[in-house]
Structure formats: C-alpha cells, structure tokens
C-alpha cells in the first residue's frame, strides 16, 4: 500500500534542511531552477500591465478623433466666413448659418463653400454641407451612426487612427515576456526533472548499499516490506513531488507577493479592497484544507486496515472456506468498508470544493475591485487603465493561494518520506573493519577451528550460549541438532561473524575471528542454507553468482557433481533457462542449484542446513548425495535432520532453547540418556 501524501513529519524543519543539504551538487541546480521560477513569476506579474497597454492602444484606435473633428468643423466654418458675399448670406439669417447656406442654389453654395483641403484631403462643397447638416443634429454624445453617414472625405479625416507602430511595439514586448516566461518555465522543468531523478536515484542507491552494511540483527527485527516501501514509495514521494512542487511553490509565492506589491504600487485603496475581499475566502479554504486533511489521514489509515483484512482473508482463503468463515470475514469487511466510504466521501467532498470556493473568491474580488474602482474613477482619483490592471491582479492574487496551501502539505509529505529514508540511512552500520590487518588466505587455511569459552546472546541481558568450548580439526563433521526453534541458526550467525560474540573467542587456523575481516571469513566458508535462495536470472548466473572467471564447463562440472545435469538438459534453455518464475523447476531442484553454487566455491569450511521438509523423497535422496559430495574434504557444520549425518558426526551439538545443552559423539550421547537420547528415540516409538 503506498503511503499517502498526507503523512506528517515529526520534525519538518530539520528534515527539510537535511533534505536540502543532502542534495549536494544538485543543490546548485535547484537554486538555478528556483531563480528561473522566480523570474518567470516576476514576468507574469508585469504582463498584465503590458497587456493593458496593448488594450489601451487598440481602444484609442476605435474612438473617433475628437481633435480632428474639431479641426474639420473649425475649418469649414472659417471657410464659410472668409468671403464678403458670404457675410451677406450669413447676416441674412444670423441665427442659422447652416440653414441659410442650405437654402442657397448649388452654384452659390460652391461660391460660399469652395472645395478646401484639410490634412491634405480634399473636402468638396457637398461634403462640407453634409457635415454641417450632420453636426447640427449631433448631440453631445458622439453617435456613431451619425458619424458613419458622414461623407467619405471627412470620415477619412476624423477616422480613428490605430497607432500600428505603437501596437507593434507593445505587442512585441508582451510577446517577448510570454516567450521568456515559457522558456524559463521549460528550462526550470527540465532542470527539476534532472535534479529530482538524480537525487532519487542516489537515494535508492544509498539505501541499497546501506542494506548490505547493516548488521543482520536489523533484518531479524525489521520487516522486509518496510525497507521495500522506503526504497520505492518513499523515494518516489520525494522524487515526484519534488520536481512538481518546489518550483511551483516558489513561483506561486512570487506571484502572490508580486501581485500584492504591484497592487499597492498601482493603487493602495484598491489593493486593500482586493485583499480584504479575499481574506474571508482564504480563511475559509484553509479551514477546509485542514478538515479535509484530517479525513485524508483517516482514510489512509482505514485503507491500511482494509488492505490488511483483505490480505489476511485472501491469503488464508482455504482456511476461511474450510472453516465456514466467509460470513465472519464479510461482516468485518463491511464494517471497515463502511468506514472507508465515510472517509472517502468526506475527504473528497471537502477537498473538491476548495477549487470552486477559490473561483468564487476570484469573482467576488473582481466585482469589489470594479465597484471601488468605478467610484474612484468618478471622483477622478484613478484611471480606467488601473481598473483593467486590477482585474488581472485579483486573479493573479487569488489563484496561487490554494496552490501554496496544497504545496505546503506536499512539502510535509516530502519531509515525512525523507524522514523515513534518513531514519534508515542513520541505522547503525556493521562495525568498521578497516583497522583489521590480519588476513587468512583460502589456500593457507587448513580447516581447524576452536571455540574458546564462547558466550553469546541476542540481547545483552540474556546470554543464550554460555561458555561453549570445542576444538575441531580439519575435515571433521559437526552436527547441530535440536527441536524446532532451538536456535540452530545462532551457530551459523556466530561462525560467519553475522553477529559478534559477547566474550570468548573463535579461532580459525590460529587466527581469532575478531582479527579477521568479515569478507575474509566469508571467503573461508561455503554456506548452503535450507531456504533455497535464487535470484531472478539464468541457472548459469545463479550458480556462478558473483564469482568471476568461471567458465560454463566449470558450472557444468558442478551440476554433474550434484546430479542435476540431466534435469538441466531437459530444459529448453539449458543452463540459460531462467529460474525466476519457472514452474518447471521444483523446490528440490532449486536446492540442488544452490548446492551447485556452493560447489563452485572452493573453501575449507562448510555450513550446511540440510532440512528439506517439502521436498519429495527421491529428490531428497539426490540432494543428500550432493550434500555429501559437498562435505568431502571440508570441515563442516551441518544443521542435521538425517540420522546418518548425526551418527557419523565427529561432534554433535545438541541445542534447546538457544543453549547448547549437550555435546559429544552419537554413542556417548545415547549412553547419557539425556535430551539427545530422547530426541533420537522418539522417531522410533509408536
């Protein structure tokens, strides 16, 4: 189950700082990208201003030119007044010059109003008259219809001139701003993609390296799924959210602050109006966000519950069926499912109405700004252009807030995930061994081993191996027996230095294992465990494993020795068949492959866990033969289940509840009539 975003971190600030620091060199790219976001956002706050400039230019281009209009009428009237004859006519009806001119014959008209040239455009007599007639009926409001019926020549003069040069210039500026902000945006996105992926790749790698540096104790006490979820879910949460979130947070904060600044710079009264009208909305949406957060957290928890229940019922399916547990299971399922339904509904509803509320606040602010703006315009305290700019600012101002709020919660989840990753990275590693200079080469090792007063306990307070001593000579066979859960693997843990002994010593060919590096000790041992461990790869890869310079022939040789060569030949891919999901390979055969892997490694010591509970008897026989081959010439420690092993062993260690309760040879132990004798005889009793 993926961990959901809403998980809270314990120490947000500390983790965030650590996240930033651990970016190392990526840090600088992150800063570049933040700067780009900043510039981009800044450009976005200037853009409305420039856009209103463009609007103004166009608007000027559609209004009739009042200056020119005046000029035309002045010119025509002057034309009418300059002649002496004209004076008479004018004087004959001084109240209405236009009417009197109108009443004249055409030739007189031409005399009075000869063609004139205004702004290099010829205006004929008739045009002048028609102009005069039009303006006579013209009231204060410049009626466009009237203007439209003016003669062409005059229209040409007073026609609004759209300043195309100015428009071009302004549009160019705006285009450059938009283009730049898009380019910035793209660069920023690409950089963040590199940062986020580079960083998460490194985190994943660090975790994978860390796994092999942790003491085994960690894995004995932690679940596999937990580590897995850190490597996938948590790192993904960091990677994906980081690339989307950080820069968007930066650009939204910039937009938000930028628009506040620009608003105050432009007009403080309207700025206050805009902010005040949105405050309530912001408050409301923060409240909602908090509430929905609560349900999201709860939902995540309930999802976990239902997941567990389903997992349990599905994996115990045969028990549920055979014990008629379906009804019981369904009742429990319904109970959780109902809970989930409620959380789902509430969380989705609350988070879903955030957007509409912000949308409404935008509209509300719009109206408020317009009304207050209009008031100011009427009192000549501001211009129309300011209102236009504010109409855009109010959107720039309200949009980022909900994103900032969401961004902050995502930051929380990044921090929570980061915390889990760091927690893992901070786990105590295996003791540093660089100071150990001793070395025991494989070819120099003879195979003697001595336990000297070994004391050990998984807990400091509870010693389970109390003072164990034994001398084992090269080539001897040591059987470790005991009931289930008696702690037989403890011996393996100590021999392989997976755990450190509390006191005493284990000496291999004269050298204390405390003086030898773990990797050195591992070289000396061949280990074949009961849990057949194969990785997803070919049979060849699995047998060769990490060793270099192993030829196919050598692998074949090992296969022949353990007797699995015939089987491999029957597989279509031979040695190159994949073992991953291959159903053709049984668990017994898999065990043979792990034994073959052990065969390839040439080492003086052997640790062998021979239990083969679910393997059929015939394969088991094959496995046992292979194991016997493996023990040849090696000092071997065998976790024994077979009587033959026990009987032939040079030393039998009998374990119970973690302790070595008896040790000795088969015959000796039988004579003792103690724990071992009991254990051994139980298999023959009726």
């Amino acid at each position: 189950m993926p961990r959901h975003n809403t998980e809270k971190s314990k120490d947000f600030k500390k983790t965030t700082i650590r996240l930033f620091k651990s970016l190392n060199n990526w840090k600088y790219l992150l800063i570049v990208s933040i700067l780009l976001a900043l510039f981009g956002a800044a450009l976005s706050t200037i853009a409305p201003n420039k856009l209103s400039d463009v609007t103004n230019v166009i608007q000027d281009g559609i209004k009739p030119d009042t200056e020119k209009f005046k000029e035309v009428s002045e010119n025509i009237i002057k034309n009418a007044m300059t002649n002496s004859i004209k004076n008479e006519i004018v004087l004959s009806n001084p109240n209405n010059i236009i009417e009197s001119i109108n009443n004249l014959d055409i030739d007189k008209k031409m005399l009075i109003l000869p063609e004139i040239e205004i702004n290099k455009i010829k205006v004929s007599t008739l045009d002048q008259i028609s102009f005069m007639q039009t303006i006579e009926t013209l009231n204060s409001e410049t009626s466009l219809n009237k203007l439209n019926s003016l003669p062409e020549s005059i229209k040409k003069i007073i026609e609004p001139k759209l300043d195309t040069k100015e428009l071009e210039k302004r549009a160019m500026i705006l285009a450059i701003i938009y283009l730049l902000s898009s380019i910035f945006g793209y660069c920023q996105g690409i950089i963040m993609a590199y940062v986020a992926n580079g960083y998460s790749k490194r985190l994943r790698k660090d975790i994978s390296v860390k796994i092999n540096r942790l003491p085994l104790k960690y894995f004995d006490t932690h679940e596999t799924g937990d580590v897995l979820s850190r490597i996938t879910n948590d790192v993904d949460t960091i990677g994906i959210n980081m690339s989307d979130n950080i820069t968007s947070l930066v650009s939204n904060i910039t937009l938000f602050l930028g628009s506040i600044i620009m608003m105050f710079v432009t007009n403080w009264i309207m700025a206050l109006t805009a902010i005040l009208s949105s405050v309530l909305g912001f408050f409301l949406s923060f409240l909602l966000l908090k509430r929905s957060q609560k349900y999201f957290v709860e939902r995540q928890k309930v999802l976990g519950d239902i997941n567990s229940h389903i997992e349990e019922i599905y994996s115990g399916h045969n028990i549920v069926k055979a014990y008629n547990g379906e009804k019981e299971a369904l009742e429990e399922f319904d109970r959780i499912n109902d809970k989930l339904y409620n959380c789902n509904r509430k969380s989705q509803f609350l988070s879903g109405i955030m957007q509409p509320i912000m949308h409404f606040i935008g509209n509300f602010g719009y109206v408020a700004v317009c009304v207050v703006g209009a008031l100011l315009v009427m009192n000549d305290q501001t211009t129309f252009g300011t209102i236009v700019a504010f109409m855009i600012y109010i959107r720039l101002f309200t949009n980022p807030l909900s994103r900032i709020a969401q961004g902050m919660t995502t930051m929380q989840s990044i921090a929570a995930a980061g915390e889990r990753v760091f927690e893992f990275m901070d786990e105590k590693e295996l003791a540093d061994e660089s100071n150990l200079k001793e070395k025991l080469a494989v070819k120099d090792a003879k195979g003697n081993i001595e336990f000297k007063n070994v004391k050990f306990g998984y807990d400091e307070n509870r010693t389970i191996i109390k003072d164990f001593s034994a001398k084992i000579k090269s080539g001897q066979k040591i059987a470790i027996v005991g009931p289930t859960g008696a702690g037989k693997t403890t011996m393996v843990n100590l021999l392989m230095k997976f755990y450190d002994i509390n006191s005493g010593d284990i000496i291999i060919d004269g050298k204390s294992i405390k003086e030898l590096k773990r990797s050195n000790i591992h070289e000396l041992f061949v280990m074949v465990l009961q849990d057949t461990w194969l990785f997803d790869g070919t049979i060849y890869d699995n047998i060769k494993y990490n060793k270099k310079n192993i030829s196919k022939d050598q692998v074949w040789e090992a296969c022949k020795t353990v007797g699995i060569d015939h089987f491999i030949k029957t597989l279509p891919g031979g040695l190159d068949s994949n073992v991953g999901d291959n159903e053709a390979i049984s668990s017994g055969q898999k065990q043979l492959i792990t034994i073959a892997r052990g065969m390839i490694e040439d080492a003086p010591f052997l640790i062998l866990d021979e239990a083969t509970s679910n393997v059929d008897t015939r394969t088991e026989e094959l496995v046992q033969k292979a194991m016997d081959k493996l023990t040849e010439g090696k000092t071997s420690f065998i976790i024994a289940h077979r009587l033959s092993t026990i009987k032939n062993a040079d030393l039998i260690l009998v374990m119970d509840e973690g302790n070595i309760v008896e040790q000795g040879k088969h015959e000796e132990l039988l004579k003792k009539k103690g724990f071992y004798a009991n254990l051994y005889n139980s298999q023959f009793q009726k």
Binding site: I306, L330, P356, F525
Partner: protein, 586 residues
C-alpha cells in the same frame, strides 16, 4: 469500462443525472459571467454611467458566481457520494466474489494480484469518478457552448482560437503517446526494483557469505538506471506541458488582439466597434475553450490507467466459479466415512492427469495416510474432500453422499482441515483457535484450552505474555513455524470434526512433538477419521491404511508392514529415511 459501470445502482444513476444537470447549469452560469464582466468593463469605461448601474451589473455577476458556487458544491457533494458509494459496492462485490473462489481461481489470479485488484484498482476507478465525472461532463459542454458563442462572429479570430486548440490537442496527443507506454514500463521497473531489493533482503545471509555485496549493488544499479531514465523521460516530456499551455493561452490572447487590431485598421467606422467587442468576447471565450480542452486531456491522462483497472476488476467479477455450491443440507446416518470411487483429476486446461483412477474407503475412527514424492498428487487428493478442487472423473463420497451435492457449509462442518502452510489470523490465540463456524456454538475458552493442550501447544501458549489472549502478529511472525502448526491443528480440534485432514501438517514439528501430538489426538478423537499426508515415514507408519502414490497413480495400499514387503516404492522411501535396522526396530 462500461461493463464495470453496469454495476452502478439505480441510486447512483439518479445521482449522475443530477450531477449532469447541475454541471450543465453551472456551465451556463460560468459562460454568463464574462458577459457581465464585459458589461461592467463597459460601464466603468463610460464616463456617464451611474454607480447604480455598476452595482446592478456587479450584483448580477455576484449572483451568478454564488449560484455557480452552490452548483459546484452540490455537484461536489453528489459526486463524492457517487464515487465513494460506487467504490464501496464494487469493493464488496469483489471481496464476496473472491470469497467464493476455489483454489484454482486463487492460483490463477495470484493472491497479491487479487489484493491490489480489490484495493488499488478500485481506488483508481474511484479517482476517475470523483475527479473525472465532472470533467467528463463539463469539458465537452463547455467547449461546445463556448465555441457556439464565438463561431460565425469572425472567421479570422476563430482561426486564431482554432490554432490554439489544435496546438494544445497535438501537444497533448504527443505527451500521451510519449508517456503512456513509459508508465507501464515504470510499473515493470518498480516491480524489478522491488524484486532485486527483496532478493537482497531475503538472501542477506547468502549475500554476505559470498561477499556478493558489490554484485548485488550492481544488479540494483542496472534497474535503478532503467527506472531513473524512464522517469526522466516522462518528467522531461511533462515539463513541456505547462510552458506550452501558458504559451498557447497567452499567444492566443495576444493573437486575437493583434489580428483584431489589423481588422480594425481595415474596417469602416461602424465595424471597428463590433470587431473590438468581438475581440473581447473571443479572448474570454477562447480561454474557456482552451481550458475545457485542457480538462479533457487530463481525463485522457487518468483514463488509460482506470481502464486497465476496470479490466482487471471485470476479470474477477466475470470469472466462472469452478466450484458450484450444492444443496444437500440434511444429516447423514453414517459418520466419518470417506470413499473415493475411481477418482481422476486434472486441471481444467491441462492435458495430463494429476490423479488417475484412485479408489479407497476409510471408515469412522480409522487413519488413512498418503505418501509419495512431490508431484505424486497426494495433496491434490485430499484437497478433493473439502472441495478445494472437484474431481474430474469419479466420485468422492463423504458419509455416502457425493461431496458435490453438499451445501459447502454443511460439508465443511464435518471436516477439520489443516493445510500445509499453517495460517494465522491477526487475532488472539484464543480467537485463532476458535475461528470459523461449524454449525454449532463457537468453542468456549475451556474448549480452546483443551484443543491447544491436545495439539501440544499448552506449554508455549502459557509462556506467552497474555497467554490465550496474546495477539498473534500479522502472518504469525511472533511464533515459530512449529508453534503455528500446533495452533493450526488446535483450530481443527476445537471444531470437533468427523474427519481430520492433515495436509503435511506435521512437517515443522520435531519427531518428539509430532509423536506426542498424534498419540494425544488419537486418544482425544477416538471416533474421528484422520486423513494424513506426510513426508516422514515416522509420521505415518502406524496408520490403519497407507496409500502409496506415484505420478498420480496408486501403487500400493495396505499397512506399513504389508507395504514394506510388497511395495518397492514404499520401501525405497522408507529406506531413504531410516536404516533397515531402524525399520526393523520400529
């Protein structure tokens, strides 16, 4: 996808209708808003307009905004109801269906896949419904409506808007085409990443023992590179999205202005004003068109994933059950009798038979044991009794009645089945043992204690911190394999069955405990019949009847002594575990 939506209840469908109506209404309101906006703009622009007019228009716009808010909140309410309700019902349907599955179906789907189908896949559909439903209705309505409002007004401006839309559609198609296949790759790589890590974790001892840390890191590195590369490509592609969207939106706006301005220059006096107002309308509706296309592409982003999920869910819901429930609920006069009559079995699509012509009969109070190599079919054979599988040919009779005729619960009441892998529920020891229903009362604590005692679990349970109330951790990780097996046997004992079925249920016990348990059990359940599958000769050699299986065929039937004499395979198995002398002693 549509198939899945057939699961919508009538109530759900009504809700969808309401949502659709409200969405259309809110689109109407949303498209009204720009008109009020331009009215306000105009009023503010004209010197002589009165405050009253502005307040009036502003009031209208606010009313519109409030109505739209109410609409969307109601839509939000209904669609959150719808998605939660639908997912709840689907989840329940899947769960019930899986409960009715037989082993065959479980094996076919795999438990882990069934789990993700019941949870993650349903969540995907839920997301689609909660986010997508509104968008799915809203965006086409919005796009078409807004287009209708501007179309025919100006060819040139329409062209500019159209270009914007085309660029967006192409960009999104490109992104979807780039990203979709990579998403499924990511899924694959994540599985691999998990796989390699799991492998390292489970084999940690081997890794250390072989000094293979570097080797494992190398394997991890390979997958890590792959997944990072794919992630990077996806994110780089997505990085295109925002800038291009912004670019198109802004340039469309600017383009409309510039083209508009050019038209104004050319146009006559009257037309200038019309063109200008067209320009304003185009730029606001053009924005709406682009937004709705954006929404649409967002749906196309979630749709493919939801579609995969829907398909996976349908697969479960449509699966034919291989085990059909019977009707026989009555009592039987005989008890504890199991008879196989010429039973053969093969998996539905397999060619080869796993069991061939098996016949035997076991009477009340007797013990029958099955032995043979892996793949000899012994587990399959006893799984036929509780109908985990059904026989392909022949009959399996319990108390004289064919198992297929029983109602499953009636049949199960007769049986105490202990599987190979002991399974523990996350519950107390007591609840684990008292689990299930046998048609009678739940076992009380005394009964539970007794069962645990017989199963040789008393010692360890009473050493646990809360004794019988101790919680068993998930997957039973706080107790050992042998302890799990003992509790699992106690669970069957607490049920008081007529027939015990032990499917290799003693494998994790040491010889001593194994022996003691079987002796005690024998004393406790004199009248019950036992069917035992085992690997160890020691476990079975005292059975009344031993059936030796080899490759699905019965190669020997009789007692230990008889079989040693007449059955070679049996002798071979026995000798591989005990020496001749030991066999004699036994």
């Amino acid at each position: 996808m549509f198939k899945l939506f057939k699961n919508l209840t009538n109530k759900d469908k009504k809700v969808i209708l309401i949502v659709a109506t409200l969405v259309v209404f809110s689109v109407f309101l949303d498209l009204r808003m720009p008109e009020y906006m331009s009215e306000i703009t105009k009023l503010v622009q004209t010197k002589d307009s009165t405050m009253k007019e502005i307040l009036n228009a502003g009031g209208h716009m606010l009313l519109c905004a409030i109505l739209s808010l109410v609409c969307t909140i109601t839509v939000g309410y209904f669609s959150s109801f719808l998605s939660a309700d639908f997912s709840k019902n689907i989840r329940r349907k899947i769960f019930t269906k899986v409960e009715s599955f037989g082993i065959a179906e479980i094996k076919k789907f795999q438990t882990s896949s069934l789990i993700t189908r019941t949870t993650n896949d349903v969540t995907q559909i839920e997301m689609l419904l909660s986010m997508g439903l509104q968008m799915m209705i809203k965006s086409p309505v919005m796009a078409i409506w807004a287009l209708v409002k501007i179309l025919g007004k100006s060819t040139e401006l329409s062209l500019v808007t159209g270009t914007g839309v085309v660029i967006i559609v192409i960009t999104n198609l490109f992104i979807i085409k780039m990203v979709t296949p990579r998403f499924s790759k990511i899924q694959k790589y994540t599985d691999q990443l998990n796989g390699v890590t799991r492998e390292n974790l489970t084999g940690i001892r081997v890794v250390h023992a072989f000094n293979a840390e570097k080797f494992q890191e190398g394997r991890f590195e390979d997958v890590n590179n792959d997944i990072t590369k794919t992630h990077l490509t996806i994110q780089k592609t997505f990085a295109l999205m925002d800038p291009i969207m912004n670019f198109v939106m802004h340039f469309q706006h600017l383009g409309i202005y510039v083209v508009g301005a050019m038209l104004i220059v050319k146009a006559g006096m009257m037309d200038k004003i019309t063109i200008f107002s067209n320009m304003v309308v185009f730029s606001s509706y053009g924005m709406q068109v682009i937004f709705s296309f954006l929404m649409l592409t967002m749906i196309f982003m979630i749709l493919p994933r939801a579609q995969v999920s829907a398909y996976r869910i349908n697969e479960i819901l449509e699966e034919d059950l291989s085990i059909k429930d019977g009707y026989y609920k009555g009592l039987t006069d005989k008890k504890g009798i199991v008879e196989f009559k010429n039973v053969s079995f093969k998996y539905p699509d397999a060619d080869e038979y796993i069991l061939k012509n098996i016949s035997f009969k076991v009477n009340q109070g007797e013990t029958i044991a099955f032995i043979g190599s892996t793949g000899s079919g012994k587990s399959t054979l006893i799984n036929l009794v509780p109908r985990l599988y059904d026989a392909t040919e022949g009959e399996v009779l319990v108390d004289g009645v064919n198992v297929k005729e029983y109602k499953l619960s009636t049949l199960n009441n007769k049986i105490g089945y202990i599987p190979q892998k002991a399974f523990m529920f996350t519950a107390s020891v007591k609840d684990n043992v008292a689990y299930g229903n046998n048609g009678r009362e739940k076992p009380n604590i005394e009964k539970v204690k007794e069962a645990i005692k017989v199963a040789q679990g008393k010692d360890f349970v009473e050493k646990m911190p809360d004794k019988y109330d101790t919680m068993i951790a998930r997957g039973g990780t706080n107790i050992s394999g042998g302890q799990k097996q003992r509790l699992s046997i106690a669970r069957a004992i607490a049920r008081d069955p007529e027939i015990y079925i032990f499917d290799d249920s003693f494998s994790a016990l040491d010889y001593q405990t194994d022996l003691k348990l079987r002796t005690e059990l024998k004393k406790y359940t004199k009248n019950a019949t036992s069917m035992i599958v085992a690997q160890r000769i020691g476990t079975i050699m005292n059975a009344d009847t031993i059936v030796v299986l080899d490759k699905g065929e019965c190669v020997g039937i009789g007692t230990h002594k008889e079989l040693l004499k007449k059955c070679d395979i049996y002798k071979e198995i026995a000798l591989s575990q005990l020496s001749e002398e030991e066999l004699e002693n036994a």
